[in-house]
């Protein structure tokens, strides 16, 4: 019995020693950040060089007058773009929805099997809870609604993507239908009934991947003025969604253990939305609207990329 007590005491003392010796359960909680690529969106008007100056000249005259049939152009913030028939389209509300933003690793023979697998199985679903981090109320785990009628060239952080070390040669991005949970989805607001309309509608975006509220001068007075404007209120109803886009970088983006932060800015050149189409046909012609959809997809570029943090927004 004495011996047993001794052994038991030894056991307990040993347990205490193990605990004090810094065995499992006694360590510090620690966190070390990994490689992060900050992804942001910027939008900009990139006018066609040939038509832009003429249209701008015309617009300076037209802006002085407010014509019925459209929106209250002189009192509402808007962005102007020119179609291929030199129609000046004034945009009051414009939204597109982006999703599935993924960096594309540069081809590597050694990693080909896993890259192939990754192209079939979404990385985001591989282990829930990892892969992206929200930034300023947005994230990459759900679709992001982009409001085009905000300041041009203002980088809007969409979220941070965790990536493995290596070189990345491009970006994958999709236009996607918004849901109630989409980041940046505005509350819908009905249009006012006055003429010209002083309050453009904020459309309900759930189920849509783009929406546009705009107008143009339908009837001029022959002296640079506008007698009648016409609204272009369109969305993607009954239109085919473009396939996922693959945008190649001009040069690889290399991130390493020593360089753990990088950024990619996705640019939407909304001036290209009306390339090769006639805005006067948009409301009546589905083919013309499909062209618009394709142009929206084509307007998505990589605006900038680099190592380090996102460029600081002026005014932040």
């Amino acid at each position: 019995m004495t011996f047993n007590r001794c052994a038991g005491l030894t056991l307990l003392v040993s347990a205490a020693l193990l605990t004090l010796a810094g065995c499992p359960g006694q360590d510090q909680n620690t966190t070390e950040s990994g490689i992060t690529v900050h992804i942001a969106e910027v939008h900009l008007e990139e006018q066609l060089a040939a038509t832009a100056p003429l249209a701008r000249e015309a617009q300076s005259t037209l802006a002085a007058l407010t014509a019925p049939g459209g929106y209250d152009q002189s009192n509402i913030e808007h962005h102007d773009i020119v179609d291929s028939h030199s129609h000046l389209l004034s945009i009051y509300r414009a939204y597109s929805v982006l999703d599935d933003l993924e960096l594309i690793p540069c081809p590597s023979v050694a990693q080909l099997p896993s890259r192939l697998f990754n192209s079939i199985i979404s990385a985001a679903a591989a282990h829930a809870g990892h892969g992206s981090e929200p930034v300023r109320g947005r994230g990459l785990d759900k679709s992001n609604v982009i409001d085009i009628v905000t300041r041009d060239l203002y980088p809007l952080p969409l979220g941070d993507r965790a990536v493995a070390p290596g070189s990345y040669c491009g970006l994958r991005v999709s236009l996607a239908r918004a849901s109630a949970q989409s980041y940046g989805k505005p509350q819908s607001v009905a249009t006012s009934t006055d003429d010209p309309t002083t309050l453009p509608e904020v459309p309900e975006l759930a189920g849509k991947f783009f929406a546009l509220r705009a107008d143009y001068c339908a009837t001029g007075d022959g002296m640079g003025g506008c007698l009648q404007r016409s609204k272009v209120d369109v969305d993607d109803s009954n239109l085919a969604m473009p396939p996922t886009l693959t945008i190649n970088f001009s040069s690889p983006l290399a991130v390493t253990d020593a360089r753990r932060s990088a950024y990619v800015e996705v640019g939407i050149a909304y001036g290209e939305w009306v390339q090769n189409l006639d805005v006067t046909l948009l409301t009546s012609n589905a083919d013309e609207r499909q062209k618009l959809v394709n142009n929206i997809a084509g307007s998505i570029h990589v605006y900038d990329k680099g190592l380090g943090d996102l460029p600081v927004n002026v005014g932040d």
Partner: protein, 296 residues
């Protein structure tokens, strides 16, 4: 690895084990073998034990979503035979888990894991003397007694948490055959999580089966071999399926049990996967165990 030797060596030096091992962490094997032993108890017997365990696993796609986990745990257990037919036991692990992800980020969580309570009921035996066949029922519950570990106020990822924070009961049956110098033991148990764990973790149901044999080389030294199977449904996080979880894992476990002094048993084992028919990518490393139990 250094700590494996430090802690393991300290354990071996300090005390001893009976028929010890199982996989309380990865749920591959029958943990009650360690905490309660396998022999028929006498009323009032108490057993205290300490077990050091080191394991690791790698899941998901390399370079895309890969996650490497290294885990060390020191499990303190205590069992008490309230009669010749009933044993109850409790065990609590001290755990340190390190997670390294494909993006080179790392997290370490350390603390007390979830408390395991279990009971074994000796339902039947044969009429021979000494008894050669024993069988019965066992059940238990893992309670969410751990604290969600944080660093700078932010919760450590679930993969590095010492406990999962869920209530997980289990129910099973067992059978033991005693033919000196041989001993055979097998058990099967089913486990189902009643509640969500931390961070929306929803553990998949698990069916565990263990087949153990032991051969006594000497009066105080035995060699052991076990096959531990785990059949697991996929886990979910906030109702999102974890594609790299679930499936069939069978581990082979050779080991030894040494009784240097009466009532004191030192166990050591090496558990290695032999069948891995899992969903997604899950690579289980070997599991090393060193344990000591003492009967009062």
């Amino acid at each position: 690895m250094r700590r494996i030797f430090v802690c393991g060596f300290t354990l071996v030096l300090s005390v001893n084990v009976g028929t010890v091992w199982a996989c309380a962490t990865c749920l591959c094997g029958d943990p009650t073998i360690t905490t309660m032993g396998t022999e028929k108890p006498f009323a009032g017997r108490m057993r205290a034990g300490i077990e050091y365990l080191s394991r690791g696993e790698t899941v998901a796609e390399p370079g895309v979503s890969e996650l490497v986990t290294d885990e060390e745990r020191l499990t303190y257990s205590f069992s008490y035979a309230i009669s010749a037919e009933w044993i109850v036991a409790a065990s609590v692990p001290m755990v340190t888990k390190q997670v390294k992800r494909y993006d080179l980020s790392r997290q370490q969580g350390s603390g007390i894991g979830d408390l395991d309570l279990s009971a074994r009921w000796f339902v039947g035996k044969d009429e021979s003397f000494p008894v050669r066949h024993l069988w019965g029922v066992q059940f238990g519950v893992r309670l969410p007694s751990s604290t969600e570990q944080k660093h700078n106020g932010v919760a450590i990822d679930i993969d590095a948490q010492p406990g999962v924070g869920a209530t997980i009961p289990n129910l099973g049956i067992w059978y033991g055959r005693y033919e000196m110098p041989w001993f055979f033991y097998t058990s099967a148990a089913y486990q189902h999580a009643l509640t969500e764990g931390y961070q929306g973790y929803q553990a998949g149901d698990v069916f565990m089966i263990t087949a153990l044999t032991q051969y006594a080389l000497l009066q105080n030294l035995a060699v052991q071999f076990s096959l531990d199977g785990r059949f697991k449904q996929q886990d979910h996080y906030n109702d999102v399926k974890d594609h790299d979880s679930g499936g069939v894992l069978v581990m082979a476990t050779p080991g030894i049990a040494w009784t240097p002094i009466e009532d004191l048993v030192v166990n050591a084992s090496y558990q290695t996967p032999v069948i891995e028919n899992v969903r997604g990518r899950q690579v289980e490393d070997v599991t090393l165990r060193v344990g000591v139990t003492y009967d009062f």
